[in-house]
């Protein structure tokens, strides 16, 4: 990393660039805060905050550069465990650069890692009313076929529910199909009531 430049008049780091035009000639000064104050008395230089912010700036740059080095080396410094999508072979680190995912399977491959980004963009991490906890207890056979209540209430579009119902029928999971049918009817019942209220 390049060392910060030194003031033209002393050894302190450069904080300001002052350009003065004297008798038609341009003078370019790279100076510290105090010497800047001398050159330009109207300049309001706050000794403390400026020096602290300079230190912060350089440490930020250092941190940023070290992050970049880690990224290039293939790791992000986070616990991605070198996550790679089994379908399209996208590396999680590559996604972080763009941020575009490779295919639908990436969402399963990087599920726990994507949660942070989703929370940032949407303030939510799932297409349901409450947060789904990452580590769910093993479901029993009975629980696996039951549709959780929060998924029944028309959260996904109606067409998705209808599709799930036909798949359940094809798979001879008639109990699940019946539950989906009830959920669809409930939503369609609500919608027709709403439509009567709106004239658009």
């Amino acid at each position: 990393m390049v060392e910060p430049k030194k003031c033209m008049k002393c050894d302190k780091p450069v904080a300001y660039r002052i350009i003065k035009i004297v008798k038609g000639k341009i003078h370019d000064f790279l100076v510290c805060g105090e010497h800047a104050q001398e050159l330009s008395p109207t300049l309001k230089h706050n000794k403390e905050t400026h020096q602290v912010s300079q230190a912060n700036l350089f440490s930020l740059i250092k941190h940023f550069l070290s992050q970049q080095e880690q990224n290039l080396a293939g790791g992000t410094g986070e616990e991605d465990g070198g996550a790679v999508c089994p379908n399209c072979h996208l590396n999680y680190g590559k996604y972080r650069e763009t941020p575009l995912l490779g295919c639908s399977d990436c969402y399963s491959a990087f599920e726990h890692l994507l949660v942070k980004d989703l929370r940032k963009f949407h303030g939510a991490v799932s297409q349901t009313a409450e947060d789904v906890q990452p580590a769910e207890p093993e479901k029993t056979e009975d629980q696996k076929t039951r549709i959780p209540p929060h998924e029944q209430a028309g959260v996904l579009s109606l067409s998705a529910l209808k599709k799930q119902m036909s798949e359940a029928v094809q798979g001879e999971d008639f109990e699940k199909a019946a539950q989906l049918r009830d959920a669809i009817r409930a939503i369609e019942g609500k919608q027709s009531k709403k439509n009567k209220g709106h004239e658009q």
């Binding site: 379908n87 399209c88 996208l90 763009t98 941020p99 575009l100 995912l101 490779g102 295919c103 639908s104 399977d105 969402y107 399963s108 599920e111 994507l114 980004d117 989703l118 963009f121 949407h122 303030g123 939510a124 991490v125 799932s126 297409q127 349901t128 009313a129 789904v132 998924e151 028309g154 959260v155 996904l156 579009s157 109606l158 067409s159 998705a160 599709k163 709106h198 658009q200």
Partner: protein, 355 residues
Amino acid sequence: MDSSLTDFVRESDLWLQSEGPKHHCIISSRARYARNLEHLPFAPRAQDEQLEQVVKIIDAVISANPYFAKLRRLDIRDINSLHRMYLKESHLISSELEQGGKHRVIYISPDYRICVMINEEDHLRMQALAPGLQLRKVLAIMDEVEMQLGRVIHFASHERFGYLTACPTNVGTGLRLSVMLHLPGLVLIRKIGEIVQGVAQYGLTVRGIHGEGSEHMGDVYQISNDVTLGKTQEEICSTLESVAEQIVERESAARNALFEQQPTIARDLIGRAFAILQHASIIDSAEAMAHLSKIRLGIDQGYFHPLTHTELSLLMMEVQPAHLMFRQGGQIPEEKRDNLRAQLLHQRLRSISYN
């Protein structure tokens, strides 16, 4: 040049030609769904053969369904850059598709209200447009189109994340709802900053007339939902509709205040704008939009009869670069365009008087 394609492009403003609800403040409404096929790489990371496969699959689905019989299919490669720019100005295609590219196809309805785009950032982007405030209408149209496609295509989805998209900012519903508002009153009384900051708390965002990165030309603001995950389509629609209606109320109040409390200033602003549009020989699009915005404001008060809000919305489109060049039949340098723009405005406003 394919004349039928030229005619087709020329007519692409058709969707804006009728008057919509609350048209004095709301220019148009739009609903857009993003969907993808399972397992095939998303468009930005797909190989040519895979993009071709996506096109083939969706072509087959659309051609087999009588619901889509009237849609016109166009390959983006067959549309030259001027025509693409025109379609973008008409809000029919996105800036992504305006760039061109291989294995990108659009399907457009005869009234230009529906456009289905293949291999934009997602395999499928479908949108519906309508004049005025018609969010429920455009959403209903999109739900129908999505359902018709979804009968056969199993859209990529995840039990937790909902519908999956190339960019995580679109997951969940994959729904972007937006309204285009004309807010000269709030701009003039300097309250627009409050609105822009205020909408953020509803998960909404404000952009200019041509989307991300465009300035607020002509006092036109596009408000859309930022959040697509964790809310239902109905919630997104209700929120945006309610916020849009509140903004319309505030804009109307601002306009009334302006004309009641400062009538001379208001007339002066509008009069000067009209005078410049009538007499300038050179005018760029930003300046033309700024003055047209004042004319559109004046229409509320009955000035410029028989000009309507709808005609002004269309005129605001006609002064855009591609629309101007299209009238002349080809690419034209900027200086010449600025002169043509001025001539067009003289022509349109010649028989209008300021009363």
